[in-house]
């Protein structure tokens, strides 16, 4: 029983990371039909931003310092998202092959740049003591970091849903996912929302990177790219453009992965996720929550 609780908590922590990486991907694809294969770079950049803050600002106690690290990771993610959309993707809307080549290249270049700058060896993240301590839940000693990651991801999920449901920008994004041409025909400049969605996606991935650095005990240039494939699987299972679907799929995928790895055979977790993807595509090709948002 205690190992089950521990695995579940670990799985939920991983689900938080998948959600933060995948929700931006899903919105970007849902609204703009852009498959952003460079999204993993936003994740890694966020991880490095968090590492840098934790490593350099010694004057601040580690708890509040981690809060600064998350804000810095979010900010770096936003800036990266806006730069990529405004500087590169904007010229290529509607040109799918060009977009894929561009974002693959960008992802590879980002990993190489980060490798050259920070070296390919993982940078260990200084963590607040509380993260490493455990909380006893039903007899299992669960590392607090797992609970923290899941909690932060839930906060961002709620925030994102409120943003989509309650604000005019959110309304435009939800409508744009369904039919961008009709949104334009109502007098709305959808391309402004495109930049916004890249900024939001970059922010979520950046925060994910900061938390990923905690989960994986450090940052390396491939931090994001190694998770990107799972994020894509989460997006497809959840249904393109659906935030709620992404959240549900993130939990489904990560728990499957962790349970299979621990109860069946180590290393089979990733394979089982692909099987899960195949099953969903067979039964419900549009994903769990189709194309409707929120």
């Amino acid at each position: 029983m205690s190992s089950f609780v521990l695995y579940t908590a670990t799985g939920l922590g991983l689900a938080g990371l998948y959600f933060l990486l995948a929700s931006g991907l899903s919105l970007i694809f849902g609204l703009m039909n852009v498959l952003n294969l460079a999204h993993g770079a936003f994740f890694a950049v966020g991880g490095y931003a968090a590492w840098w803050v934790m490593d350099s600002i010694d004057a601040v106690p580690s708890g509040p310092r981690f809060l600064i690290a998350v804000v810095a990771a979010a900010a770096v993610g936003i800036v990266s998202g806006v730069l990529v959309e405004r500087g590169l993707i904007r010229r290529l809307y509607g040109h799918h092959v060009d977009q894929i080549l561009l974002t693959i290249g960008l992802g590879i270049a980002a990993v190489a740049l980060m490798g050259a700058w920070f070296s390919y060896d993982p940078r260990l993240l200084t963590q607040p003591d509380w993260f490493i301590r455990t909380t006893n839940i039903a007899g299992a000693n669960v590392p607090n970091s797992r609970l923290l990651i899941f909690g932060v991801a839930v906060l961002f999920l709620v925030g994102l849903l409120l943003f989509l449901a309650r604000t005019r920008h959110g309304l435009i994004i939800r409508a744009g996912v369904e039919n961008p041409s009709m949104v334009r025909a109502l007098g709305i400049d959808v391309s402004r929302s495109f930049t916004l969605v890249f900024a939001v996606g970059g922010m979520l991935a950046g925060v994910g990177g900061a938390l990923g650095a905690v989960y994986f005990n450090g940052v390396s240039p491939s931090l994001g790219t190694s998770q990107l494939i799972f994020a894509f699987i989460v997006v497809v299972i959840g249904g393109l453009g659906s935030v709620t679907g992404t959240a549900v799929a993130a939990v489904l995928v990560s728990l499957t992965q962790i349970y299979v790895n621990n109860y069946l055979a180590t290393g089979m977790g990733s394979v089982s996720v692909v099987v899960l993807l195949a099953l969903v595509l067979l039964v419900r090709p549009q994903g769990l929550m189709g194309k409707a948002l929120a």
Binding site: R168, R174, N179, A185, G187, A292, L293
Partner: protein, 232 residues
């Protein structure tokens, strides 16, 4: 002066050359019907006017050139668009569909819209995708009527609707279009005759008739020649 002056309009959709130098005017005030058999380029004409398809030539509305203007700015010049197949946002509620149509710094005529379509007022929180075809058409029309537009482009508002619903939609259109300039694409000759004073007929991407609606509606030979329909 006419509300719309279209000259030398050419539109391609992929490889297909759909409109071949189309020229026509839409008079100020009143409904002009844009008629023709299936696939002659009626919807294409409206899409080009909205900037939703690349085109060459000239489309002047109130003396201002529209061609080359991004779609959202076309709409902000006071052009309301009711697309073929309605294109309501299915996942959004009726209220959200309407709120999306609110153009900033303009009057939002909810009173008018709900007076024309009381059905919608009772269903503001219902997802538009769960409405009947007729109700979805009302949402599509309401979106275009919410702002005081100088020109309405309405594409087949009665397509796929039951006869009783068509009557209701036509009745609402009579009220809604009484003080507006409207370019109406309509396959149903009875509806077109009921609403429009003037008519333009397209065939194979060219204008073959431009004039009063009445002869088309009353002269079976004319209707047969241009539209391939029989008038009862």
């Amino acid at each position: 002066m006419s509300a719309v002056d279209i000259t030398g309009l050419n539109v391609w959709r992929g490889e297909a050359h759909v409109l071949h130098g189309v020229e026509f005017n839409v008079p100020e005030n009143g409904v002009t019907a844009l008629l023709g058999r299936n696939g002659v380029g009626k919807t294409t004409t409206l899409l080009a006017m909205m900037g939703l398809l690349p085109a060459t030539g000239s489309i002047e509305v109130g003396g201002e050139e529209l061609l080359g203007t991004p779609t959202h700015l076309v709409a902000r010049r006071g052009i309301g668009y009711v697309p073929e197949d309605r294109e309501v946002f299915a996942g959004l509620t009726v209220a959200e569909n309407l709120r999306l149509a609110e153009r900033p710094d303009e009057e939002h005529r909810y009173d008018l819209v709900y007076q024309l379509f009381p059905d919608l007022q009772a269903r503001t929180e219902q997802a538009a995708g769960t409405l009947s075809g007729g109700q979805q058409q009302m949402v599509a029309l309401a979106r275009a009527l919410l702002n005081p537009n100088r020109l309405l482009l309405i594409d087949e508002p009665t397509k796929g609707l039951a006869p009783i619903v068509i009557e209701h939609v036509v009745e609402a259109l009579v009220h809604a279009t009484s003080n507006a300039t409207v370019l109406l694409v309509e396959q149903n000759l009875w509806v077109a005759a009921h609403l429009a004073r003037s008519a333009i007929v397209l065939d194979h991407g060219e204008v073959v008739y431009a004039g009063d609606m009445e002869p088309l509606a009353t002269d079976p030979a004319l209707a047969g020649k241009y539209l391939g329909v029989e008038v009862r």
